[in-house]
C-alpha cells in the first residue's frame, strides 16, 4: 500500500513556487469557467475576452495603469500592516476618508494656485486617512479590541460619512439632485502626463514604492518592522517598540489609502461622488497577500488585478456578465494561491508499506 506523509521543507522551493502560483491561477480560471457555463455564458470566449480586453491594446493598458494606482497605494499600506501581523482590512474606509479630506481642501480653498492647493489636499488626505487607520490601532493596543472587526466596521462608517456629505452639506446645488459635489477647480485636479490619459499620481506611486523598499531594507525602523513581523514575541523580548510600530504602521497605511482616495477624487473623477467607492480597498488585500508583501511584486500584482477590473468592464458590456464575477475571480485566485502555498512549505513523501 502507498502511504502519504507530509514533511516540512528544509530548503525554500525557489522557482517551483512560480509553478505552484500558475497552477493555482489555472485552477481559479477553470472554476470561474465552470461558473460561467452554469449561467449559460461561453467560458472560453469570456475568459479570452477578459484577458484580451485588459492587456490587448495600448488603450487598455493605459486603463490598467490608471486603475493600478489606487490598488497599489492601498495594498502597499495593507502589506505593511500584514508584515506586523496586524490585519488591516480597512483600506476601503481609509480610502473614503482620504477622498473626503482632499475634497474638503479643494472645496474650502478654491482660489489657491495648484502648487499650494494640491499639497494641501494631499496633506488633508493623509491626515484623515491616517486618523481612520490609527483608531483601530489605538483600540487594539489600549483595549485589546480585535483590529479586523474594527477596521471593517470603520469601512462601513467611512462610506456612510461620505454618503452623508455628498447627499447633504456638500451636494452641488446645480447637480439636479444627484449626490455629488460641484466639480473641482482646475487647480485642484492632478494634471495628466503629456498627452496620455495617465496622471502624475503614477509618479507618486513610483516614488512611494522606491522609498518603501529603501525604508524596509536600510533603516533601523524598517529592520525592526521586519523583525517584529517574523516573530512578534522575540521582537518584544528584544525591546523593540511594538506598540509604537503598530500605530505608525496603521497610520502610514491609512495615509497611503487616503492618497489613493485623493488621486481618485482629484484626477479620475474631478469631484466627490458615491461611485468613487469601487472596492479598491478589498482588492488591495488580495494583492498584498499574492505579492507576499514585497513592494515590487505588489506593483506587478496591482497591475494584473487592475487588468481583471478593466477586462470585467468588457465582459459586462459584451456578454452581460454581472460585475460580481470580478469578485468571484479575486476570491478564487486568493483561495487557490493560499492552498498552493502548502506546496512551497511542505513536501509530500510517498512510502510503500507492507
Amino acid at each position: 500500500m502507498l502511504q502519504i506523509s507530509t514533511v516540512r521543507r528544509q530548503e525554500p522551493l525557489g522557482w517551483g513556487s512560480c509553478l505552484v502560483f500558475f497552477a493555482a491561477l489555472a485552477l481559479a480560471f477553470t472554476v470561474s469557467g465552470v461558473l460561467l457555463v452554469m449561467q449559460d455564458k461561453p467560458p472560453f470566449t469570456a475568459l479570452w475576452l477578459l484577458v484580451y480586453s485588459a492587456f490587448g491594446s495600448s488603450y487598455a493598458l493605459e486603463d490598467c495603469l490608471i486603475k493600478a494606482v489606487p490598488i497599489f497605494l492601498c495594498s502597499l499600506g495593507v502589506g505593511l500592516t500584514f508584515r506586523l501581523q496586524i490585519w488591516n482590512i480597512g483600506a476601503e474606509g481609509q480610502f473614503a476618508l482620504g477622498a473626503i479630506g482632499a475634497t474638503w481642501a479643494a472645496l474650502t480653498f478654491p482660489g489657491w494656485p495648484w502648487y499650494t492647493l494640491l499639497p494641501t489636499m494631499l496633506l488633508c488626505a493623509s491626515l484623515t486617512g491616517s486618523l481612520w487607520g490609527a483608531i483601530p490601532a489605538v483600540l487594539r493596543l489600549k483595549l485589546r479590541a480585535n483590529e479586523i472587526i474594527v477596521t471593517l466596521m470603520l469601512n462601513y462608517v467611512g462610506i456612510l460619512v461620505l454618503d452623508y456629505l455628498v447627499y447633504g452639506i456638500w451636494k452641488d446645488p446645480g447637480s439636479f439632485g444627484f449626490p455629488m459635489t460641484s466639480e473641482f477647480v482646475p487647480a485642484a485636479v492632478v494634471a495628466r502626463i503629456g498627452d496620455t490619459r495617465l496622471n502624475w499620481g503614477l509618479a507618486l506611486c513610483l516614488a512611494v514604492g522606491v522609498l518603501m523598499s529603501v525604508f524596509l531594507r536600510s533603516t533601523r525602523l524598517g529592520y525592526e518592522l521586519r523583525a517584529c513581523g517574523e516573530n512578534v514575541r522575540a521582537a518584544r523580548y528584544a525591546r523593540m517598540p511594538y506598540a509604537k510600530l503598530v500605530i505608525l504602521v496603521m497610520a502610514v497605511s491609512g495615509a497611503l489609502a487616503g492618497w489613493a482616495g485623493f488621486l481618485e477624487a482629484s484626477a479620475t473623477l474631478g469631484r466627490l461622488q458615491p461611485s468613487i467607492m469601487s472596492g479598491y480597498g478589498y482588492t488591495a488585500i488580495v494583492v498584498a497577500w499574492l505579492a507576499n508583501l514585497n513592494p515590487f511584486v505588489i506593483a506587478v500584482s496591482s497591475f494584473l488585478l487592475a487588468g481583471l477590473r478593466v477586462g470585467m468592464e468588457s465582459l459586462q458590456l459584451d456578454l452581460q456578465i454581472p460585475a460580481a464575477f470580478g469578485a468571484i475571480m479575486e476570491g478564487l485566485i486568493l483561495l487557490a494561491v493560499l492552498a498552493g502555498g502548502f506546496f512551497s512549505r511542505y513536501q509530500l513523501h510517498l512510502r510503500r508499506t507492507r
Binding site: R144, A145, V150, Y156, D163, A324, G326, G331, L335
Partner: protein, 306 residues
C-alpha cells in the same frame, strides 16, 4: 412612545436579531474547534441566495431553509480545504471566502433582484403567544425564530455534556494533547466547521425567507461581520450570543422605525449606528474581560505529524 409601539419595536427586535443569532452561534461552534472563519458575511449571502432560489423553484420554504444551511456548509468546506488540508492562513482564507461569496451572490442573484419567493409567515404559538407582553414579543413570530430559540441551550449542552462537544473544545484549546489522547483532531475540526457553516447558512436564508421574502443585492449589509464581533462580545458562550444578537436586532429595528417615522437625522447617520455600536461593544467587552476567552489554539493550523 406608547406601549403598543414599544411592543411592536421589541417584537421587531427579536426578528432582526434572529439572523445575527444563527450566524453568531455558527461562528461560536466553528471557533470552539479552533478554526477562525472570517467568511461569515460571504457564507450568509450564499445561504440567503440558495435559500431564496430553492423557495422560488420548489415553493417549499422548509426545503429552502435546509438548502440555505447546506449552502453555508459548502462554503465552509472551501475554508476547510484551504486551511485544514492545505494549512493556509485562516484570516486570509476567511477574507477570500467573503469576497468569493459576495461575488457568487451577486453573479447568480442579479437576474432575480426584486423577485419575491414564498417564505415563512408569522403565527402565534398556542398558549405561549397569549402571555401578555412576553408572548407578543417572543411568541408571535415565524417558525424560524422559534427554531432559533432551541439552538443556544442545545449548543450549551452539547459542549458541556456530550463526548463530541468536549472533543471539539479540546481540539480548539490544545490540539497536540487532543491528538496524544488518540482523538482525530482534524475530523473534529471539520465537524465544527461544517456544523457552524450550516448555522451561518441558516442565518443567511432567514434573511431572504422570513425577513424580506425578496432578493436584493448585498442583503446581509455587514451582519456577518457583526456576528464575528458578537462571538468575542459573547465570550464564546451561546447564552450571551442571544443577548448580543437581540441588542443588535434592537438597534436595527430602532433605526428602521426612526427612518419610517421621518426624523431630522439623515439616513446615513442612522445607518451608521449598528457599526459604531459593534466597535463600542467589542472595545467594551475586550477591555472588561481580564483574560481572553478565546479558544487557545484559535486560528492556529495543526502541523502534520511525522
Amino acid at each position: 412612545m406608547t406601549p403598543e409601539i414599544l411592543l411592536a419595536l421589541l417584537a421587531a427586535t427579536v426578528q432582526a436579531g434572529t439572523p445575527i443569532l444563527y450566524a453568531t452561534l455558527g461562528e461560536i461552534l466553528t471557533e470552539k474547534g479552533g478554526i477562525l472563519n472570517l467568511g461569515v458575511e460571504g457564507m450568509m449571502l450564499v445561504g440567503a441566495l440558495i435559500g431564496f432560489l430553492t423557495a422560488l423553484h420548489t415553493g417549499s420554504p422548509v426545503l429552502a431553509f435546509v438548502a440555505g444551511g447546506l449552502g453555508g456548509a459548502c462554503m465552509a468546506a472551501l475554508h476547510g480545504i484551504v486551511c485544514i488540508w492545505f494549512m493556509g492562513n485562516q484570516v486570509v482564507s476567511g477574507l477570500a471566502l467573503t469576497i468569493f461569496g459576495t461575488g457568487l451572490a451577486g453573479f447568480f442573484g442579479t437576474p432575480y433582484i426584486g423577485r419575491t419567493a414564498p417564505g415563512f409567515d408569522k403565527f402565534s404559538l398556542p398558549l405561549l403567544g397569549d402571555i401578555p407582553v412576553l408572548g407578543t414579543i417572543f411568541f408571535q413570530q415565524d417558525a424560524l425564530v422559534y427554531f432559533s430559540f432551541l439552538i443556544p441551550p442545545l449548543l450549551w449542552a452539547f459542549f458541556r455534556y456530550t463526548r463530541w462537544g468536549m472533543a471539539i473544545r479540546a481540539a480548539g484549546e490544545c490540539p497536540a494533547a487532543t491528538r496524544a489522547a488518540g482523538l482525530n483532531v482534524l475530523a473534529y475540526r471539520w465537524g465544527a466547521l461544517l456544523g457552524g457553516g450550516v448555522l451561518v447558512g441558516f442565518g443567511g436564508s432567514y434573511l431572504s425567507l422570513a425577513y424580506t421574502h425578496l432578493w436584493t443585492n448585498g442583503l446581509t449589509s455587514g451582519r456577518g461581520w457583526i456576528a464575528v464581533a458578537l462571538v468575542i462580545f459573547a465570550f464564546w458562550k451561546p447564552s450571551r450570543a442571544m443577548i448580543g444578537a437581540y441588542l443588535f436586532g434592537g438597534i436595527m429595528a430602532f433605526q428602521l422605525r426612526l427612518q419610517a417615522m421621518g426624523t431630522a437625522l439623515p439616513s446615513s447617520i442612522l445607518l451608521m449606528l449598528p457599526y459604531i455600536l459593534t466597535i463600542a461593544a467589542l472595545a467594551f467587552s475586550s477591555w472588561r474581560s481580564e483574560r481572553t476567552h478565546a479558544p487557545a489554539a484559535l486560528g492556529v493550523n495543526m502541523e502534520p505529524s511525522e
